[in-house]
């Protein structure tokens, strides 16, 4: 199995687990800052995965077009997501919690990494940031899921302690 196939499999599992965590969190806490951000995160992950598949398909016939669109499309999605989190909080008059700030931080860092990688790979053709891109994007996309799993487990444990 190549690295790319493994990364897609991990990404698929991550989206599925995040969606399950979102359902549990929504069932427990309804509309909160964390749930809004997590919902946008899950949706963005799903869209990016499907888009990557489509782009890889198109790349078989038009490589140059996909070389231009690959990084650009992810940056656009990251930007739209941060703005939608900000606007949805303002519209619903909800305060930001630390988890939402962390999700926005992850989106922003991913957008910056995409920009740096494009400059490194296409403009300068240096390949200095290949490793940072490979592991950076994957770990940034995994981090909110791990954090959410920990937060939910702690809140369920606290809830059970409070009931005893």
């Amino acid at each position: 199995m190549s690295w790319q196939e493994l990364a897609y499999k991990i990404d698929d599992a991550e989206t599925l687990i995040s969606f399950t965590l979102l359902c549990i969190s929504f069932f427990l806490y309804r509309v909160t800052s964390t749930n809004i951000s997590l919902a946008i995160w899950v949706l963005a992950n799903f869209v990016m995965e499907r888009l990557a598949e489509v782009m890889l398909d198109v790349a078989k016939t038009d490589t140059e077009l996909i070389r231009q669109l690959w990084y650009l499309s992810f940056v656009i999605i990251d930007t739209i997501c941060v703005w939608s989190i900000y606007l949805s909080h303002r519209k619903l008059r909800i305060s930001f919690d630390k988890f939402s700030v962390f999700i926005c931080f992850s989106f922003t860092t991913m957008a910056v990494i995409q920009l740096v990688r494009y400059t490194d790979r296409i403009i300068f053709e240096t390949e200095y940031f290949a490793v940072i891109y490979k592991y950076g994007i994957l770990s940034l996309s995994m981090a909110p899921m791990v954090l959410m799993a920990l937060m939910l487990s702690f809140s369920i444990i606290n809830f059970r302690h409070a009931q005893e």
Partner: protein, 98 residues
């Protein structure tokens, strides 16, 4: 348009989007600081009203001392956060301690 030019155009559009992303993130961060300040100010006001309702005793004096220390810390943190936070948008707790 030649290929090199296309690369530069793509880079230009990406920079615009990354800047928009950074601006949005800054807005989120400022809103977070604001809501944290507001929550803290609210809890300090609630604590003071509880102290005022207590009967005169050593316990009340101790509680008032600790409350004053918390307000001083809040004022310090507020000044630090307002360096990069819009000054009019978060609660400035003005307290007459006497």
């Amino acid at each position: 348009m030649d290929l090199q030019m296309t690369h530069y155009w793509t880079l230009f559009v990406m920079i615009i989007f990354v800047l928009a992303c950074l601006i949005a993130y800054r807005q989120v961060k400022l809103s977070n600081i604001r809501s944290m300040n507001e929550a803290r100010a609210h809890s300090l006001i609630m604590e003071r009203s509880q102290i005022d309702r207590m009967k005169p005793s050593d316990k009340q004096i101790q509680a008032l001392k600790s409350w004053k220390a918390k307000v001083a810390q809040y004022a310090k943190d507020y000044e630090n956060s307002s360096e990069f936070c819009d000054k009019q948008s978060s609660i400035k707790l003005v307290v007459n301690n006497d």
